[in-house]
Subunit: 435 residues, 2 copies
């Protein structure tokens, strides 16, 4: 078998066999197939596509390129969740402790933020001491004892994915549905997941801007999960406005803690409750979504979910005083409340502009190697459809630099659009695709 023939086959729109895909991925991982051949192949895949069968094979080959965790001794059926990335998306910080408190052990490997979307690890590191680099042994031990882990991706899992992603990033081959789908699922499968809830974000503040492309990605992921012998449910959720109110690392941890105390934004808690119910149903903890939502509601009300989060932070070396007294979390030097310059119904709140403003303030990264400022960010005060009076607080900026604050203020004012007529609120979920 030769790499050049495999590239040519994909160039000519032919379907690659399982053996060809595995030859290519394992050869690339071992460095026997050079970057230039992988780059030509990735461009051919991007432009000519892949069938569900090819994508499932690609997923399994990437998963098998390194260590594969076996969680069956710890969790009867390991369920994982994945969000394709959004603005203000602190869902994992609430859903995972809720689900764990419901009796389903969950161990999640998360990523860092890049571009206008945030990352769970950056948020958790707002809590002094919190370790995100657990070893595989620590990960498994904590899953067993605490029933909840939120850590970083181990370099030993799916190494082909890291190598391929770095190459795609510099060869304009990121935006390929089969490559995105296989990247997401291969890591989940290597981490031992048997079932997934996939939160596919759609809209201005997401990688998938249109419902059509999000639907294609969701269908493909559900199909390849089935072909790979896993179960998956994909939720298509709106990302035209931020989820909740807070955008920025410590600000989002604060909002997640508020939510776990029962005092978070309504939309955000509804979102988390639905995602939790899908995870509980997939695992068979509850017989249907209704009972799952009810169970999630009960562990929130009883404080068990918050307690589980506290146990998580303690287990991973974080200072739990920051959980008990969230005012201790990092605070920016300047906290400015910006009033609405006009009144009316809020017609739009461009999530991408909000995300990019958070990056501008220092909350996110333009490049992978950039540091993040945990204190800075944005808290918006209204959701689309709400009526706002001129002069009422519109958003609050948390900044460590006056010039950036001024710049952020202008962008954010422009990111709010207005209507004199009543405007419908945006939906939370647009569709559910069930395998």
């Amino acid at each position: 078998m030769r790499a050049v023939d495999i590239i040519q086959k994909k160039r000519d729109r032919q379907e690659l066999s399982s053996a060809e895909i595995d030859f290519f991925i394992q050869g690339y991982t071992r460095g026997e197939i050079p970057d230039y051949q992988a780059a030509a192949w990735a461009m051919a895949v991007l432009l000519n596509g892949m069938s569900d069968r090819e994508t499932a094979d690609l997923t399994m080959s990437i998963a098998a390129s390194g260590e594969m965790l076996d969680l069956t001794a710890v969790v009867p059926l390991a369920v994982d969740k994945h969000s394709t990335g959004g603005v203000g998306d602190k869902t994992s910080l609430v859903v995972e402790p809720v689900v764990a408190a419901c009796g389903l052990p969950v161990g999640k490997m998360s990523g860092r933020g890049l571009g206008f979307t945030g990352g769970t690890l950056d948020k958790l590191e707002s809590i002094p001491g919190y370790r995100t680099n657990l070893s595989t042994e620590e990960f498994l031990a904590q899953l067993r004892t605490v029933g909840l882990v939120l850590s970083g991706q181990s370099a030993d899992l799916a190494p082909a994915d890291g190598k391929l992603y770095a190459l795609r990033d510099v060869t304009a081959t990121v935006q390929s549905i089969p490559l995105i789908a296989s990247s997401i699922l291969s890591k989940k499968i290597a981490a031992g997941a048997q079932a997934f809830v996939l939160d596919v974000k759609v809209g201005e503040g997401a990688f998938m801007r249109t419902l059509e492309e999000a639907r294609v990605l969701a269908h493909m992921m559900v199909a390849i999960a089935r072909l790979a012998g896993r179960r998956a449910v994909a939720l298509l959720s709106d990302m035209n406005q931020p989820l909740g109110y807070a955008v920025g690392n410590a600000l989002e941890v604060r909002e997640a803690l508020d939510t776990l105390r029962g005092a978070g934004p309504q939309d955000f808690w509804r979102h988390c409750r639905v995602v939790s119910a899908h995870m509980l149903a997939l695992a068979g903890v509850t017989p249907d979504l209704g009972e799952g939502e009810a169970l999630a509601e009960s562990v929130l009300a009883s404080g068990e979910a918050l307690e589980k989060f506290r146990q998580l932070v303690m287990a991973q070396g974080g200072d739990v005083r920051y959980i008990d007294e969230p005012d201790r979390l990092p605070r920016a030097a300047y906290v400015n409340v910006i009033p609405a310059s006009q009144g009316g119904y809020l017609a739009g709140l461009n999530a991408r502009m909000v995300g990019e403003t958070a990056v501008l303030l220092g909350a996110g990264r333009a490049r992978k190697e950039d540091p993040v400022d945990h204190a800075v960010g944005i808290v918006v005060h209204h959701k689309v459809g709400e009526k706002v009076d001129a002069g009422a607080p519109l958003f609050t900026l948390h900044a460590n630099d006056l010039e950036r604050l001024q710049h952020a203020r202008e962008i954010l004012l422009a990111s709010h659009t207005w209507s004199a007529e009543p405007v419908e609120p945006l939906p939370l979920f647009l569709d559910v695709i069930d395998g």
Copy 2:
């Protein structure tokens, strides 16, 4: 400007600007843009195409990636010819001395054979002592004194082409019309040509199998030559059967010498006469094609063309006794005449199978670094349409290995197809595309 953005633009089917193309090509030549970005770009070009304007810019950028020869002090209007490669295509060995004998100085840089097609340099090296690695100074001096040069491509000319070709070869990006067209013309332009006759081969024994794709390539080359301020004529010529009778290095030199003595195969001399007439007309040496053909005929009949070839060989260090007594040329150990196993009208003579058989015998290369055997090859005895009696000589094999000879015999017998009904001869030329 960033390479990744240029790749993305081509990925998204947008037209690249002159500046973007030049940034990419010069950056790649200098090693600032890595192979993996060039590979992704080449695949995007192959799958999404390039406009004539982009291809002309690409051609000029590749030409400008190294030294550019200026022949204006030596030749009033430098005309070059290029064949896209065929089987038995020894045209340069006859056309160039004929044209030079007509008073038009020609300096040609040729390539080596690869795969089923032969290369002019390999053929010339059948003549002991013949040097194909002239320096630029030697090339120019000989063009001035002899009016005829047949040498190898200087590494200083269009280095981007060599680098890009090697990459395309291993990334399945050879078969792209804009990349083929720019590769051909960039080398000609860097070598100082002001006008070109492009012999685009079509059929089983050519890279372009169909008239449609050959026509696309021919039109594109003529168009980009015009955009680059050069003139070009493209001849579409049949390559379903070998050109002439001989296939193999020394055998083709022998046939070229026979032709220069007025005793070559009819089809081959007609082909050479037409190509010569186009070169003479482009240079303004003769006012039209008819007078060009007549002039070519006269320098052949007078012996001036043969004398010019003899001067060429002497100037480049070759032993002219091999020109005066062609029996001295390398001979194979086994020379077997194979009779027709059946009679009838010759309906087909698969040029690709003939070319591949020559490689099998050792006349060509499967890989660039392979050596060639100058003595071996094939002489077919009939053209499509001829009536052949069973038992009459069908072809002669020249081999240095009995096992390969036996294998070649079987393939070649199968490459001849027969008809009981009369069959039309194949045309020499299918079309002429004039800029």
